[in-house]
Amino acid sequence: MTQPAIKVEGLWKEYVVGSAQRTHSTFYDLLSHSLKAPFQRLRNLGGATDDVNQFWALKDVSFEVQPGEVLGVIGRNGAGKSTLLKILSRITSPSRGRVTVQGRMASLLEVGTGFHPELSGRENIFLNATILGMTQKEVARKFDAIVDFSGVEKFLDTPVKRYSSGMYVRLAFAVAAHVEADILLVDEVLAVGDAEFQKRCMGMMSDVARGGRTVLFVSHNLTALRNLCTTGLLLQGGQTNGFGKIGDVLNRYVSNRTNGVDGSIELLDNNPDQPACVRRITVMPTGKDAETPLTVSADFSIKIQVDIREADREISVFLHCHDENQNRVFSTGSFFNQQLQGLKLAAGLHEFECRVPGNLLNNGEYSLDVMLVRDRTEVIVTESAIVSFRIHDEPLGIEGWNWPAVGIIRPNLSWIHNG
């Protein structure tokens, strides 16, 4: 009987929401609160918590990961994925519960942790590898392999501040890829870099996954999760909402978030530190009310309500649309409209609308990933498969023809007889 590699028993994590978010109704309130605040902060630091401002990021999460298993952790933003990862990698401690980990553990929560811009590539390899838990001997042994993998050998003695961002990420990733551990905790470090680099990361991830190591993988990329993982854990509001075969859990995740036909969802504001967040997504026929079902021939609109906190930055919305088989049907961004390029938004609520013409998509169920992008380069929020909607069939109405129109798209094409 082998012991599980990771055993999580009744894990709870409480965060105390900062008192800065309190609103003060009167000046006296403000005054008395600011006088009390330092003492409250002192108590919080010591471990005492004020039950008014508490927030449970994890509520009674339990699961086991067997050696060699690759567990994908899925859930919306704010579901507790990062908190779970932080507890497992011992960065923060749980409020209740217990985790037992068998074997050597390494956590890759970002690439290039501790890289110092003034130091050379060579020095940074040693620095970063040691921070990730390698001994000096191991780094020396693997040094050549790391340099090889990164492809920056010409610049090994150049300070990394002179590196291009691609080189920097490659070097950082090369170090991470050579960490020797039985258990790897991987966050969405793979979401950085260009497509080429991401492919390389995925290749490395699947090598790791097949190499018999235990991996806990947090990602928004459903395709990657489906390909890499054997088991899935679905978190929702800090609780376990599904645990089992990755396929089952992914299906549950996708179907969980559908609101049926009207395809609308309201999001809670779970991360006040972010410069912007998505508050509501509605998919509805253009110019009609949200109750009207979508049909193949009708134009429809995707409305995204965004809450901007960091004013005067260019924040754009980007969409991926997938069909039931996880095929990407289209991608589009608000900055595809030239007039919206460089649009700086004031703080507060804003609505973006994407109009999709009728006679484009076939009938069926679709899901949307919604991303917020800052300055057209940096993805700041990713809500994957956040909302799904159904496009209803319309009979073609052709006498004697009763077959469905098969295909990913269903354009209304013209036919002519040319003689």
Binding site: Q102, S107, L109
Partner: protein, 283 residues
């Protein structure tokens, strides 16, 4: 023995148990020892980075204390005619500036070290004590350099080297203990209250004036001298002077300082350990 410990913490058979923190607990020395390579790597990073992209480079390590000494000698020695127990004032002030500069740098850099390493604290696990420790370690290199200068200066001014010099390492150890205690305490407090970022320079400055760095203890009327010894650095600075200038040691003063050094060290480390596991949540 060495490899056993590393095997225990980094080996494939290591079992990690993660539980909520329970009250006060003592420092996990074996774990800290197992992470000594990280301490070394971070310390050498601080040393390497310190004088990067400066024209004078490591010469700053010599220039800074020498310039301070020259200014102090002119202002306090020549202009203010500060007594120096019969020794040349430059040597007299430099013998005290040496441990004091180390101490002052150590507590200010280690106080800021945790908030300056947010990216490490929030992304990877290791005993957090490594961070303030490594920032104090980097100061030791500067101390070694300025000690070399002092030894040369003593030859120049005709102050001979005595056997008392052998006591310097022990005195330094006590200074390190106090610096560690105060530094870890400040670093932990700064995580929660950035107020300490602004407060620390003041404390360091005032602390220097209540420590006999620019003046001898004998300047203070005898019946008030006990007040000076409430400051743990007093005995040690005087001790350094005795070590370098070949004076007799004030054993009582040293005893008090050593005792306080241990107490401060224990308080600092204990508080640090108590709040260590919450750093990532509040930093």
């Amino acid at each position: 023995m060495k490899s056993d410990l590393q095997e225990e913490f980094f080996g494939h058979k290591h079992t990690t148990v993660i539980e909520p923190p329970k009250g006060w607990h003592m420092l996990n020395w074996p774990e800290l020892w197992a992470y000594r390579e990280l301490l070394w790597v971070l310390t050498s990073r601080d040393i390497k980075v310190r004088y990067k992209q400066t024209v004078l480079g490591a010469a700053w390590a010599i220039l800074r204390p020498v310039l301070t000494m020259v200014i102090f000698s002119v202002v306090f020695g020549s202009l203010a005619k500060m007594p120096s127990d019969g020794f040349p004032y430059p040597v007299f002030v430099y013998a005290a500036l040496l441990p004091w500069t180390f101490f002052a740098t150590a507590i200010s850099t280690s106080g800021q070290s945790l908030v300056g390493s947010t990216n490490l604290v929030s992304k990877v696990y290791f005993p957090r004590l490594i961070i303030p420790l490594s920032s104090i370690g980097a100061g030791l290199v500067d101390l070694a350099i300025s000690t070399g200068i002092l030894l040369l200066m003593m030859l120049w001014y005709g102050v001979g080297w005595s056997v008392n010099l052998l006591a310097a390492p022990v005195l330094l150890l006590a200074v390190i203990f106090i610096a560690l205690g105060v530094g870890t305490l400040l670093s932990a407090l700064t995580v929660a209250y950035r107020d300490f970022t602004h407060l620390t320079p003041f404390v360091v400055q005032i602390w220097m004036y209540v420590t006999p760095v620019i003046f001898p203890v004998s300047l203070v009327p005898e019946r008030w001298q006990w007040l000076l010894y409430l400051n743990p650095m007093t005995g040690l600075i005087e001790g350094f002077r005795s070590a370098f200038l070949g004076k007799a040691f004030d054993m009582q003063g040293l005893g008090i300082s050593f005792l306080m050094a241990v107490v401060i060290f224990v308080i600092g480390i204990t508080y640090f350990e108590k709040v260590e596991r919450r750093f990532a949540d509040i930093i």
